[in-house]
Amino acid sequence: MKKLSTPLIVLSLTVALAACAKKPPETLPPEPVDTSAGSDTDIDPNAGQQTGVVPGSQEDFIANVMSDRIFFDTDKFNVDSEDQGVLRSQASWLAQYPNVSIVVEGHADERGTRDYNLALGERRANSAKNYLITLGVAASRIRTVSYGKERPQATGSNESAWAQNRRAVTVTVR
């Protein structure tokens, strides 16, 4: 149930870093929540652990890193200090589970041409990958894939949605 825990973590991060955070966007729209599943219970970011998340799993990863993703400005692919914090938390987790590999997905917003966005997604995924390598994650554990503008997270056509879509997302692979 990563969809339940992820938004909360991202939101709390936004609050904690509000003073210096330039992103995610100021007004972070709520991400889609699966309303069919247990809306009667409060969402607890630690719920997964209480109910026994498998150590080293994707659920475990999501529950124990600052975020599974970093965000970029328009046409940019640099990893800033905020992104570095996120990636450090990912690297620490990966150090605990050396048999876990990851795929870093690079994405772009819809306001770019298709081929260019594929290349831009490659740049973003590799920026995240390269920073993880400097933190000690073996390059052999990291694969990158660019989705260009093909897999938006937020479906609106506005600055807020585009800011959420300019991202590099880390996904664990067993």
């Binding site: 298709r114 594929l118 490659e122 990158t144 897999r151």
Partner: protein, 445 residues
């Protein structure tokens, strides 16, 4: 298929052959058609094509086909924007004997400038002969005649060939109706689109999906229509495949762990351009369509992507952000002599060299995305569309019409449109589902 094409060509040469190339008629037409905005349209009448004998065929009776061929010709001519066609319901039915002897006073009385007459005849061997005659009503003379032998199932091709004959004779431009388009058919929600490879005739008919689920992008027909280059995520990462239309089989263009995308054919179909990202840096490569070792053409640390050959194959126009933002560059086919040609303001992307060689079509990004053209040497920029996001131009084989796709703000719905390079009305090409990434192939032989 090849057999049939040869037969069409041979028939054209052997049977009807020559046009009556009279210069007075050409001069008169030049006066009628003015190219840029404010042009007038040529009034053309296209009565139903009579048949000497109504015979059933696999595609309907010959009389029925005569009606449908007239309809396709009318639709083709109308879509070009250069004609004001009058279909079979607006004019009298003609007899078979009348095809070669038009009743000119009838057409003069209806202010018809050009008259199209033809016939549909069933041959003994199950094939059809479709005759196509172009008359100048004011002069009372024949301008062109052609005939086509087709399988009944290919009757639309005969109609497109006839429309091409009319278009060429009356405008002086090269034909383009008898051509096909590859594109991406889109379905599903914006954050989980299914994108399928699909093909259709230039008018949207004979539509076919070639792949089922997944994500396919950026197709390009080979110049001989036998295969299609496209990007697929079927292997988990973006990679370019060559899809063989005859067999339905496909293979990777090059085997690599790096992402490959933005595939393009050379005009002779012998070489393929593609873009490859290595450690995040994208450059343009060339490889033989038969395989072998790729040749790297660009070496900038920026994103170099896309690429489109000049018609003679000597140069390549491509896109790069080496200056800090997407702009358009030209290089020699071996990668030498790279220089920027877009200086029109904003960003410039997805350049496509006109088959005529005279213009580069591209996506102009300045706030919104618009389709524009410029000269291959730079300058002469003209913006042709005005919408929220118009992208990825592709040229009609005669270099007179540009097709592109339009994305709707919010919904992300996509549709395929076309516009005359001289400007004017944008027309939507109807597709069964949403459509993007159109790629226009050459005129069929």
């Amino acid at each position: 298929m090849t057999q049939r094409f040869l037969e069409i060509s041979a028939f054209m040469v052997a049977f009807f052959a020559l046009f009556a190339l009279s210069s007075p008629a050409a001069a008169q037409l030049e006066g009628t058609v003015t190219d840029d905005s404010g042009r007038t349209q040529i009034t053309v009448a296209v009565p139903a094509l009579p048949t000497p004998q109504t015979v059933p065929t696999a595609a309907g009776t010959t009389a029925d086909l005569g009606n449908r061929i007239s309809d396709v010709i009318v639709a083709d001519l109308r879509s070009s924007g250069l004609f004001d066609p009058i279909g079979r319901n607006g004019v009298k039915a003609i007899t078979y004997d009348e095809v070669t002897r038009p009743t000119f006073p009838y057409w003069t009385g209806r202010n018809v400038e050009s008259l199209i007459q033809g016939f549909v005849r069933s041959n003994g061997d199950g094939k059809l002969t479709v005759g196509c005659y172009v008359y100048d009503v004011a002069l009372g003379s024949e301008l062109a005649r052609q005939g086509f032998v087709v399988e009944p199932a290919d009757w639309r091709r005969a109609a497109h060939k006839c429309a091409d004959s009319i278009y060429s004779r009356l405008t002086g431009e090269s034909p383009f109706f008898d051509s096909r388009i590859a594109y991406i058919a889109e379905t599903g929600p914006k954050d989980n689109r299914t994108k399928r490879l699909a093909v259709m005739d230039s008018d949207g008919a004979n539509h076919r999906f070639l792949t089922s689920g997944g994500t396919a992008l950026t197709p390009r027909f080979s110049p001989d229509y036998k295969s299609i280059l496209y990007l697929s995520y079927s292997g988990g990462s973006p990679a370019i495949y060559i899809y063989d239309i005859g067999t339905g089989r496909q293979r990777l263009v090059t085997r690599t762990n790096n992402a490959t995308f933005a595939p393009r054919w050379s005009p002779d179909g012998r070489n393929i351009l593609y873009s490859m990202a290595i450690a995040g840096n994208t450059d343009i490569y060339r490889i033989s369509a038969q395989g072998g070792s790729p040749v790297r053409l660009t070496r900038s640390p920026g994103i170099d992507v896309g690429g489109s050959y000049s018609p003679d194959g000597s140069k390549i126009v491509f896109e790069s952000d080496r200056s800090g933002a997407q702009q358009i560059y030209v290089m020699n086919a071996d990668g030498s002599g790279q220089r920027r040609i877009s200086f029109g303001g904003g960003r410039a992307a997805t350049p496509e060299w006109s088959p005529r060689g005279d213009l580069i079509a591209f996506t102009k990004i300045a706030g919104n995305f618009r389709i524009a053209v410029m000269r291959p040497g730079g300058g002469g920029e003209r913006v042709l569309t005005n919408s929220w996001q118009d992208e990825a131009p592709t040229w009609a084989p005669n270099g007179r019409v540009i097709q592109f796709f339009r994305t709707s703000r919010g919904s992300g719905r996509t549709s395929i449109w076309q516009v005359d390079v001289a400007g004017g009305e944008e027309r939507r090409l109807r597709t069964p589902v949403d459509g993007s990434d159109p790629a226009w192939g050459p005129v069929r032989p």
